[in-house]
Symmetry: C2
Subunit: 531 residues, 2 copies
């Protein structure tokens, strides 16, 4: 496929503006063709107006038709074939095999949301039938279900060019809810974004979805994103990226005349606690697992364990020795782009300067700057130093982790209490560990959206029970998830219909329950029709 | 009961600060004893710290024990007897009979939430069991349920001193979710608030609920509220009141280092459309119903219909004549306090000055300023004037409504499109009206949280299907309701537990399903245990 390089607005090319940029292959610093054109303010406005127009039609499509559309997107992404995988690999420096898996996840998400809306119960239909004889006042007929918010803006992440980007979980869940989507492509992988956007557009044509339902805009700085979040027709925004960028979007949304929700997933240090029983029994296995967890994807996972805490002593010292061997043997990897690589090294320099922090181990191999590579590295410190230096609580994106030894349970709990909000917190625990450290567990379950026992936080399952979101600054809204079927709830609001004649009700709220969904009827959960 | 006049913090009196104020009886402008002491900054801090400490215990209480506590609050409020009704009536100018109904609603809310959490399915438990043999990677065991956010601040409304105040729906739903509550009492009814707070405290003692679970703070200006919303331990805030005050709280919450959700219900003009068939068939009944709807509670309902729209012509003229007679016969009423009464009259003066707006009818009786009374009044204008003057879209709190005649369906739809977000929108429709005006309906269902056919918006049922919340500026978050059982969702977030041993799981997530709640197990809704 010949890449065009312009934004794709409701199926038509955007302006060929003078502001152009190229993707750079991080593996060899080569410029990738073609040049891409940043969207103009007019492009943004057109995309939002087309989205709002399309919403009037899209929100009325039966859920089954919307489900077919989601399935068609999955098929079209597969049909984009190797070209997509190659471009994604070239733009990100991540291997082709990784993108085979990530593509499967991306398509799987669309199919999962298709199945969810085909089943239909997610709209949380509630019906309280009229009580005309109630004293002192009759009760009217009241029915409620979830309806889509309207046009949604998605700002994808650089670290998952497929699964958290143009056709990532935000886009899939918003379309599933019935919201048109305007994506601002991540400038590190504009070609991947264009290939995916064209696949979505082909699915739109096949499924007779109105053109404005999806647009892709290009942009390198904050300008396009800021124009999008402030646009009066934007109803909500999904973002995955840095805390600084996420907060700027949140602030812009909150200061609008009409504030809108922003779901920003901004990062986390994902603390991992190794409790005494586990440390004694499973040091080697944990050391090996931890090495994998902090280096997978060159440490560029939002769930990378960046802090490892344990009680100091012989067992922890023995663990550290095993972990050092793992780190030394770990290979350097190409990071997503020069900016991330520079930020990683700057972060390491900052931490190195803190008195009381030492380099524990680094990869024996040398990172190649021409390949935008980073060396896996582990640092170590104690709780006292950790508590003293707030910057140690901040995420360093890349293959870095910090081991922290505590002199006592009190110190361990103090370190846990000092943590900001997290996507995840992990405990490695054997025997009586969990019972012995129940206070620690109770600190962590207020800090994190997901608490793991004897696992590693990377690898976020797409399933109904997943929660990928946690207290600030992990995300801007701990009440919602960006992964798993519950992610659809971000893009909907309840609409209550009172006294509507039966024949004017949407299917979800009709007496006969033609969709066969589960509903709350007069307070009782049921799939039965109303007699 | 002897009123104390100090804040009530975790069961103990707050500081007897120098900043004091009195409630004023609006019916006779008399000062009501005793004097009340504004909470100090130390009082606020103590209340929040006690709430946070109590949270550690309160959140661990079984739901059944929390349900007993809610039921006990209802009993204790009833046990407060006539003294409560009398004080509420004296402080608000509303009749005793009104408070008999409002008290029943208040206690009913606690019982409804008690039943909801006793049943237990509201925690939305989701379980995805482990798939150890899955390829290419095993799936871990992942379970998720809703957990309480932490200490909640409630700022009650003046217009429902029982049902939307100290022990109103915000307090009931937050306690039901497992969140401690710190209420800032509305300064118009501090005595009512103290009586209710003492009832809650008695229920806490009976049910062995930790003292910090509930506190009441007094304050007249914005200072106490602003200190509360900025307090680092505050996790969420519920508010009912003006748009200006609600937005100030929202802004304060959004600019915190760690933003928190604010659920502000700020008001609405609740447009009511009378469609041609209904206008022809039921003019007299609608005129009578509308009179009741805009004068009930002296027009001090957030769901008061403040805009009435119809196509001009003989039928609307005939309706207007009947409505004028209704308005003339309407009695003046005592407003909640001097400030509201003054704001009402200032609002009328503003509207009167707009060219093209006329006074249609006002009560034949004279309002008595010594009794803080307002006369019901209806104004009239046309769509052109309505579109030209933005201030006509703003709520005027009190017994005022504005009739707007449209020259065409296009004009009617233009007026609908110009509306800001609403709690409710109403259509009176007979015969083919709904089919003929489907475009209008589709404009309104994007504007409002609740759309009514052939009803009147005041009277907000406490039931599962209720939605009391709508697009901004009706509320700050259209995705949530402040009335009905779904109100509990405001105070909870999902917590995901991965890989937890069965014996360490909360009851809601155990294989055996000891609570018998409905859960989503591997994608299927069921009450069955996991084999």
């Amino acid at each position: 496929m010949q890449l065009d390089g312009r934004s794709l607005i409701a199926g038509k090319p955007g302006h060929a503006t003078d502001k152009t940029f190229h993707a750079i292959s991080p593996s060899n610093s080569a410029r990738l063709e073609p040049s891409f054109h940043e969207a103009s303010a007019e492009d943004v406005d057109l995309a939002m107006r087309q989205a709002d127009d399309a919403f009037e039609i899209f929100r009325q499509m039966p859920a089954s038709a919307r489900a077919d559309f989601l399935d068609a997107i999955a098929s079209e992404i597969m049909a984009a074939g190797d070209e997509l995988l190659q471009r994604a690999s070239a733009e990100s420096g991540l291997p082709i095999e990784r993108f085979q898996g990530e593509r499967a996840r991306t398509c799987g998400q669309f199919k999962t949301f298709a199945a969810l809306i085909r089943e239909g119960s997610w709209v949380d239909a509630r019906i309280d039938t009229a009580l005309p004889d109630r004293q002192p006042m009759p009760r009217p007929d009241i029915r409620r279900h979830l309806v889509p918010l309207g046009p949604v803006v998605v700002l994808g992440a650089s670290n998952f060019p497929l699964a958290f980007s143009t056709a990532g979980g935000d886009t899939a869940s918003a379309l599933a809810a019935g919201c048109p989507v305007v994506v601002k492509a991540h400038p590190a992988h504009p070609g991947t974004s264009e290939i995916v956007a064209r696949a979505i557009y082909r699915a739109m044509k096949t499924c007779h979805v109105p053109d404005g339902t999806f647009s892709l805009l290009h942009g390198t700085g904050a300008e396009v994103a800021q124009t999008l979040v402030r646009h009066p027709l934007t109803r909500a925004l999904g973002f995955t990226g840095s805390e600084r960028a996420g907060r700027a979007l949140f602030d812009a949304a909150a200061t609008r005349p009409e504030p809108i929700p922003v779901f920003a997933e901004m990062g986390s240090t994902n603390p991992l606690f190794i409790l005494p029983g586990a440390l004694k029994n499973r040091a080697a296995a944990i050391a090996q697992g931890l090495k994998g967890a902090f280096t997978i994807g060159v440490g560029q996972f939002c769930t990378k364990p960046g802090l490892v805490l344990a009680l100091g002593g012989d067992d922890f010292s023995a663990f550290i020795e095993q972990f050092r061997a793992q780190v030394r043997a770990a290979a350097p990897g190409t990071m997503l782009h020069r900016g991330i690589c520079d930020a990683f090294h700057a972060g390491l320099e900052r931490v190195k300067k803190i008195p009381g922090v030492v380099v524990l181990a680094e990869s024996d191999a040398d990172a190649d700057p021409a390949k935008t590579q980073a060396d896996p590295v582990a640092f170590a410190t104690d709780v006292e130093t950790f508590l003293l230096h707030r910057e140690l609580r901040e995420e360093i994106f890349g293959p870095y982790t910090l081991l922290i030894s505590a002199q006592s349970v009190t110190e361990l709990e103090a370190a846990a209490r000092a943590l900001p909000g997290q996507l995840t917190a992990t405990l490695h625990a054997d025997g009586t560990d969990l019972a012995d450290f129940s206070d620690l567990l109770r600190i962590l379950d207020r800090k994190a959206g997901r608490v793991l026992v004897n696992g590693f936080s990377p690898g976020v399952e797409v399933c109904p029970a997943m929660q990928h979101g946690g207290p600030y600054p992990a995300t801007t809204d701990a009440r919602f998830t960006s992964v798993g079927t519950a992610a659809i709830a971000r893009w909907a609001r309840p609409l209550c219909l009172q006294g509507f004649p039966e024949n004017t009700l949407p299917d979800a709220l009709r007496n006969a329950n033609p969709l066969g969904i589960q509903r709350t009827v007069n307070g009782t959960l049921t799939r039965d029709p109303i007699a």
